[in-house]
């Protein structure tokens, strides 16, 4: 099957700034693909090039088999795009926003109601309210409804969950799973590493470079060192003590524990516990754990920075 999105040697420069550096990526039809990285990683540049809103400096990209530069008209008719800042008209009502987007694409809400029903029905009770007066979560639902109104084959979502609370984020990902069931190819970017696990495949991106592309499971299986979670009541003291340990490779806070890797790889935890006790951390506990996507991202970031 031909890929829904194909990217080869794609670069984007803004003056001296290299926003994207020779990116290669292939996304299959129907995939829910996550572009995971912090601000300034190049996520928005990449999505805007694919959405035919920005010209690449070098390289090529195609969406649904069509070149993003030559065939932008075709792509625009067949894609849905939700930019980082919502593309809504704040002084129009909910219903007027939907009608406007439907009219632009030569369709109506009724014609495609079944696709947007699950999302739109949640804001329909407020259809006379001005979009500017909606809460963040509701704006997000309206923007997604507008991006879907013409039944796009591919959907670009640029940081739809940034600044959104943990509960609304979960709901939003639930909606994406349902859209995937309709066969829509979805490319979604996010700075939240914990959302990576909800994608079929992900690309980790930092400073214009793709650090890794794989399924979330594939990414975490590539974590190279045994990883340990260390806990103690005084986390700040524990963190400082771990970092001062001569064999420490990395020590990062992770929720209620500190994730630790050792220069020796696997090692006898007793030696570390003895050291910590000497440092005044008497209640430390250590256990081996599985790495997550965020552990991998940090390890890849550090490796990338030391190799450049």
């Amino acid at each position: 099957m031909n890929p829904a999105i194909q990217i080869s040697g794609l670069s984007k420069h803004y003056g001296e700034l290299q926003a994207l550096q020779s990116v290669d990526l292939s996304i299959a039809p129907g995939e829910l693909f996550g572009l995971i990285g912090p601000d300034g990683a190049g996520k928005t540049s990449l999505i805007r090039i694919l959405a035919t809103l920005l010209l690449p400096t070098e390289g090529t990209a195609s969406v649904l088999g069509k070149d993003v530069v030559k065939h932008y008209r075709f792509i625009r008719r067949n894609m849905g795009y939700m930019p980082g800042r919502f593309s809504l008209y704040y002084d129009l009502s909910v219903e007027e926003n939907i009608s406007l987007f439907a009219t632009i694409f030569g369709t109506t809400l009724q014609e495609n109601y079944e696709l947007v029903r699950e999302i739109y029905s949640q804001i329909e009770p407020f259809k006379d309210r001005k979009a500017g007066a909606l809460s963040g979560g509701m704006k997000q639902k309206l923007a997604l409804s507008c991006a879907l109104i013409h039944r796009p084959k591919v959907l670009f979502l640029d940081e739809p969950t940034t600044g959104v609370d943990a509960v609304s984020r979960r709901e939003f990902w639930g909606m994406l799973q349902n859209l995937k069931a309709h066969g829509i190819t979805i490319l979604v970017s996010t700075p939240y590493m914990d959302e990576a696990g909800l994608c079929d495949r992900i690309a980790l991106i930092q400073k214009g470079n793709i650090l890794a592309v794989d399924s979330p499971g594939g990414i975490v299986s590539q974590f190279e060192r045994p990883l340990y979670a260390v806990r103690a009541a005084d986390k700040y003291h524990l963190l400082k003590s771990l970092r001062s340990y001569p064999y420490a490779h990395s020590a990062f806070s992770f929720g209620d524990s500190i994730h630790y890797t050792d220069q020796r790889g696997a090692f006898a935890p007793e030696s570390l516990l003895t050291y910590l006790e000497g440092q005044g951390v008497k209640d430390a506990q250590i256990e081996p754990i599985q790495a997550g996507v965020e552990d991998c991202f940090m390890a890849l970031m550090q490796r990338h920075e030391t190799s450049h």
């Binding site: 990285g37 912090p38 601000d39 300034g40 990683a41 949640q122 804001i123 009770p125 407020f126 809460s135 963040g136 979560g137 509701m138 940081e159 940034t162 600044g163 959104v164 609370d165 943990a166 509960v167 609304s168 984020r169 979960r170 709901e171 700075p191 939240y192 590493m193 914990d194 930092q206 986390k235 700040y236 963190l239 990062f252 806070s253 992770f254 929720g255 209620d256 965020e294 991202f297 940090m298 970031m301 550090q302």
Partner: protein, 246 residues
């Protein structure tokens, strides 16, 4: 001595809508206090009142020993504040930013000079003092933004989503700064959407529909709600609020 933050039955109404509904709590010196809640729960309104930017409709709050309603100007002078991402001016140099904020906080030229030298040394930015902020790496910008927010040695600093969109390593380096400041006795009042960061706080409050639904240490909250992580606690508490559409 009064605690750095003392809130009694604080309420704010906008017309018939009650954005903050009778909240009470206190924050101790040197404490890292996580102020959580879903979008629209009333966090921003509450923070604006605590910073002296918005008058309460009812109730009382003392911040740094001053009444937020009657002594709003004193409150503003005695707190540090850093909003989402950076409050620094991108087109000014490191030194110019420090001087600008020093001037705003009313430091004497002599004190400002000493503070600038000390800060540049501590942050290892001496050789970059004439660099424009926009040319600084992300991690340094954040360190500087935080240091500038506490330039005038406030007892308390408010951090409103300071780590949004920041890479995972820089995010953790930022928390190192928070820990260090708290260790020196600075009280830290912080909001975040990263639930792992909620675990870094000494105590956490969770706002739902204008009220504080839960307030305790992360460990106690997890125990009380039978949850494995703060994320689960948050979802259990905030889920019903998410259902009532606003």
């Amino acid at each position: 001595m009064k605690p750095p933050i003392e809130v009694n039955s604080l309420t704010r109404r906008f017309g018939s809508f009650v954005a903050v509904d009778n909240i009470s709590f206190a924050v101790e010196r040197g404490e890292i206090f996580g102020f959580l809640g879903a979008n629209g729960a009333g966090k921003t309104t509450a923070i604006r009142m605590l910073c002296g930017l918005l008058a309460p409709s009812a109730g009382r709050a003392y911040v740094a020993g001053y009444d937020v309603k009657k002594q709003a100007d004193q409150v503003k002078r005695h707190i540090g504040y850093m909003s989402q991402r950076f409050s620094l001016y991108q087109d000014l140099t490191v030194r110019e930013n420090i001087h600008f904020y020093g001037g705003i906080y009313g430091l004497s030229p002599k004190a400002l000079q000493a503070k600038t030298t000390q800060m540049l040394e501590e942050l290892d930015l001496e050789s970059s003092s004439h660099t424009l902020i926009r040319d600084l790496p992300l991690g340094w910008k954040q360190k500087l933004a935080f240091s500038v927010a506490i330039l005038h040695d406030p007892q308390i600093v408010f951090l409103d989503e300071p780590t949004g969109g920041v890479d995972p390593i820089t995010r953790r380096q930022f928390w190192d700064l928070i820990y260090e400041a708290a260790h020196r006795g600075v009280t830290v009042f912080v909001t975040t959407h990263y639930m792992d960061e909620a675990e870094y706080c000494d105590r956490v409050s969770i706002m739902v529909d204008g009220r504080i639904e839960a307030l305790d240490t992360p460990a106690a909250l997890k125990k009380a709600y039978g949850a494995g992580s703060m994320d689960e606690v948050f979802v259990q508490l905030a889920r019903p609020a998410g259902k009532t559409a606003k």
